[in-house]
Amino acid sequence: MDEKILEIENLAVEYRTDDGVVKAVNGLDLTLEKGGTLGLVGETGAGKTTTALSIMRLLPDPQGVITSGSIKFAGQDILSLSKGELRKMRGQHISMVFQDPMTSLNPILTVGDQIAEAIRLHEKISRAEAAVRAQSMLERVGIPPNRYSEYPHQFSGGMKQRVVIAIALACNPQLLIADEPTTALDVTIQAQVLALMNKLKNDFETSMIIITHDLGVVAEMCDRVAILYCGEIVEYGSLEDIFDHPEHPYTKGLFSSIPDLDTRASRLTPIPGLAPDPSRLPKGCKFANRCSMKRPECVKTDPPVVNLDDLHRVKCLLAQGKDAEQHATLG
């Protein structure tokens, strides 16, 4: 797992709107190892989808602008690719599954043809061969191949999302980005789709980025987790780091906001207040106004990223010194 499939360094993205500049992503560093599954967790406006769209180079043009940083996919700089090269990359090397399967399929094409279309865009094969490949893809996602000629409206939500996954994996991409792939689905259907994605990930050896707000989905699918807040990674680590030893007050707050099914607490402990307006971000720590552990210096300086160990890192002033402490106890 040493080979890096994706390396993002100091990425900053802003949306230039009539009402002002919205800073959606602010200095994001992220790497994904080959075969790994990374969970990008955060609330509305945290910059999860913007990060994904930056990797795909699908930011709305001309509002969405990458102002700094670099994105390398398998060693290649994505930001310097031409339009033609990008078109080759999308679907063949990097694919994306969107949240809403109802709107990501074309209503007037049969599902089989939509899978075959993706294959024919990237490989020089005949229509007949593409159709055979598409049928086998349908089978792999658990849909009987004889439903090839049906239209999306004849499928249930869960089946539509399977078709979208089939399209995404048709060319065996190295990286699959799934943006809230099960949020629009019922819980029993969600369980089916997650099980399918886990199986396909192993079959195809695909690296994955899963964007979600559901820590339950993360626990089930991911081996690395990045917690986003206001376009920054406030905490990053292995699944165990984040679930067993969350360090950032925001990560802890997220966990205590979820009702626990195994115990009965009379009250939840929500994170007070609201995320700041992304067009008017504060100078210091962006979480400070909601943080119960806030110190005076938090609002003055942007907290540094503290490496707790090789993997686990936290962007919080309170974590400063913990790295040294840990080294001391280890030594």
Binding site: V187, A191, D214, F255, I258
Partner: protein
């Protein structure tokens, strides 16, 4: 304790091109005063239709609705107006359930103006009190909904529902559109208000961890019918109906290193249009026998307060 709201054999069938869609098909529920009944089920199971029937927003096809022991199944206009004062609703989508052309204060005061309850300064005071109650800052009273975030908008919806001092509130997915940290704020607020005003809730949701947190009792709905009803903790400890078992096992839990047996359901769902006799869940049920496909089992009490509708409940 006497029930505040009660239904017997409540049905709502909709005419559709292919026949009759049995959205709600013979539901008996009873909610005690000051209690919360959670209704869970997946999309299309009829849970929102049930809520709308109770509030008289839809007319039942058959069955009885009782409110404070009085039959209110087919009220006349004057009765309905009185009834609506006692029954309110909080909607799922805080974006589309608020009039975009009214200010916060106008939205909250509208029910009271409709019922001529307060005037002038008294009305303004009342709006201020309500805004305080739900945690909305005073300075927002002249703002429009589009200027506010989802959590604040949902607070407006709650203040509006409280304006007439209702006894019963149907909450239809009130936190589903909100982020988790905001969701927890709103859930806490709703539980505080219940305690303070002795409110009775029917809480409709597909989110099982939320429903467990807020409910005293939970009813599980499947294609228009109840398959299980039980005290909330009991249901999560020991679900008895095969559908409830599958539903609870499917929740992704934010815990690691917990081995769980997950029941994956077949996808074929029977249609609620002109349903055949027999258990509606039978086509997806791994325990189904011939009897399940021909006759429908009513809810049977298997334990104190715990009802299950399954032929084979004692075998599985």
């Amino acid at each position: 304790m006497l029930p505040l709201v009660e239904t017997k054999g409540l049905k709502k069938h909709f005419r559709v091109p292919d026949g009759w869609l049995h959205a709600v098909d013979g539901i008996d529920i009873s909610i005690g005063e000051g209690m919360t009944l959670g209704i869970v089920g997946e999309s299309g199971c009829g849970k929102s239709t049930l809520g709308r029937l109770l509030l008289q927003l839809l007319e039942p096809t058959d069955g009885v609705i009782r409110f404070q022991q009085k039959d209110v199944s087919s009220p006349n206009k004057a009765q309905l107006k009185e009834l609506r004062k006692d029954m309110q609703m909080i909607f799922q989508d805080p974006y589309s359930s608020l009039n975009p052309r009214m200010t916060v204060a106008e939205i909250i005061s509208e029910p009271m103006r409709r019922y001529h309850l307060y005037k002038g300064a008294a009305l303004r005071d009342r709006v201020t009190t309500l805004m305080n109650t739900v945690g909305l800052e005073q300075r927002l009273e002249n703002s429009y909904p589009h200027e506010l975030d989802g959590g604040r908008r949902q607070r407006i919806g709650i203040a509006r529902a409280l304006a007439l001092e209702p006894k019963f509130i149907v909450c239809d997915e009130p936190v589903s559109a909100l982020d988790v940290s905001i969701q927890a704020q709103i859930l806490n607020l709703m539980m505080d208000l219940q305690e303070e005003y002795g409110l009775t809730y029917m809480f409709i949701t597909h989110d099982l961890s939320v429903v467990k947190h807020i409910s005293d009792d939970i009813a599980v709905m499947y294609l228009g019918q109840l398959v299980e009803q039980s005290p909330a903790d009991r249901l999560f400890e020991e679900p008895r109906h095969p559908y409830s078992k599958a539903l609870l096992s499917a929740i992704p839990r934010p815990k690691i290193r917990v081995e769980r047996q997950r029941i994956i359901l077949k996808e074929e769902i029977s249609s609620p249009i002109n349903p055949t006799p027999g258990c509606r869940f039978a086509p997806r049920c791994i325990y189904a026998v011939d009897e399940c496909r021909t006759s429908n089992q009513e809810l049977v009490e298997v334990d104190s307060g715990h009802f299950v509708a399954c032929h084979r409940v004692n075998e599985i």
